[in-house]
Symmetry: C2
DNA sequence: GGAATAACGATATTTAATTATCGATATATT
DNA sequence: AATATATCGATAATTAAATATCGTTATTCC
């Protein structure tokens, strides 16, 4: 129940997986065991227990973990109990998809404003947002104080847009452009690198490159039995 | 120069980063050192050398690595010298963005056909593709033999679509839906989990959660000096 | 009520990945 | 030509992550 001190990045990335799995459970399920979670998600049971322990969950021998309590612990841990605001720059194909994506609200994020430098787009309504001109970025951010800046412009433009966001006081950048961004050390950049994923996929096609989430021997048979 | 035996997943995911960095270099740059690459990308120089050694690169003391040779080694390693084909299911917001995305060709991937179950979309042209009806999926895949199936349908529909793709002989699934897919053990699923990214971002906003690509002490000052 | 057992939670081990150290090398400088 | 030095490449040390082991617990079944 105590607030966890430090959760490893790998564990942190698996937590949403548990959330979506718990949501998929029948309404009347009271308890779920780490064994069952692990079997369904292709993970190791010990890993699941360690992950859940990291957010302060505690289970009962022979029964497992209380589903609703677990869900509450995970979701409050993940969004920290607060809603976060974001702005998005680059309302092209990807920007529109992200802006239209309702999944964000569910994870505690709200896109407050969207920007583009294309005069044909500025002023129009896309995915429910009025596209702002770039000149408005710094002043608007100074009032909205968004926690995150989402970059979905072509790679060549990304650094410039990033500099603007930093200048506007944004401390966390979510970068979808396939390029590395230089930022001051108090700003963090998270790259959403599709090329990195493609690299893994290519190797999976070619040889038997070990997958990023290896499946333990025991679980393989379980998963195989599903289909 | 010898073909590398086994490249770790983490290294594999960093290789495209080097490619894009090398492309950003001035045309007349003959050599680049691991020190310089590391400083620019916020990595550790030893890590860069190990990564490059993994694809068979060898450098020269005092000079570094030959840029063009390095690029050739990396790109041929990454796409294995061959072009890979894919089909995409779910031509909604995200599906269209991916289908329209020209970056894939650059990494050796070609989307050959796209599918949707919305009767209003089937038959129409989107992002240069004629949207196919779902009934065509299995027969078309049997002739096209795509290496990868891309899933961009809502989470509730993903398992059904996945089963169809597997039935059609697809062995590698690239899943953008926020749900875990059960597959036979000769099929691999790669999840593109946006929720996992959001989990990291939230922690970066809240406290000082260690970032996924930690920056070593020495590099911080260098990066700081850029802006 | 008592034995059998499924699952937890703590600790230990193993494996993977990153970072440090250092001798060797070839270039630039004097 | 000799020397200083930046960088490589190999090996070693460290750190992080995953997995194994096992005693404890509380439920279920008899
Ligand atoms: N489409 C995808 O599926 C996909 C996937 C992964 C990554 N990406 C990357 O995301 C980025 C966007 O991709 P896309 O397909 O949406 O491209 P796009 O061309 O459809 O959209 C880019 C948008 O950015 C705007 N823009 C350009 N320069 C700008 C600037 N300086 N300031 C503000 N706005 C600017 C353009 O007007 C356009 O609306 C690219 O870097 C791409 O590589 C795209
Ligand atoms: N939009 C984003 O930025 C984004 C980001 C990350 C993940 N995702 C995920 O990607 C998926 C698609 O997102 P989206 O925003 O494009 O949604 P969307 O509703 O715009 O598109 C979904 C498409 O799938 C089609 N579809 C539904 N059921 C189908 C079926 N059984 N067979 C074939 N086609 C079917 C629909 O007709 C629709 O065209 C979702 O799972 C979403 O959570 C979206």
């Amino acid at each position: 129940m105590l607030p966890p001190h430090l959760v490893s990045p790998r564990t942190l990335q698996r937590l949403p997986l548990y959330v979506s799995y718990l949501h998929s459970l029948p309404k009347d399920a009271l308890y779920i065991s780490s064994t069952e979670i692990a079997a369904q998600l292709g993970l190791h049971p010990v890993q699941v227990r360690k992950d859940l322990a990291a957010v302060g969950a505690q289970g009962r021998p022979r029964l497992g973990f209380e589903v609703q309590t677990l869900l509450r612990l995970l979701t409050t841990y993940l969004n920290g109990g607060t809603q976060h605001s974001a702005v998005l720059v680059g309302m092209g194909h990807l920007g529109r998809a992200l802006a239209a994506h309702l999944g964000f609200a569910h994870y505690g994020f709200t896109i407050q404003a969207v920007f583009d430098n294309d005069q044909n787009l500025v002023g129009s309504r896309l995915a429910g947002y009025e596209v702002q001109k770039m000149e408005n970025l710094v002043p608007l951010c100074q009032t909205l104080k968004p926690a995150v800046g989402i970059i979905t412009v072509p790679a060549e433009e990304a650094q410039g847009v990033c500099d603007l966001l930093v200048q506007a006081g944004v401390r966390v950048i979510w970068n979808f452009a396939p390029t590395h961004l230089a930022v001051p050390k108090d700003v963090t950049v998270q790259d959403e690198d599709i090329a990195a994923s493609l690299a893994l996929i290519t190797k999976q096609i070619l040889g038997q490159q070990p997958s990023l989430v290896p499946i333990s021997r025991k679980e393989e048979s379980v998963r195989d039995g599903i289909l």
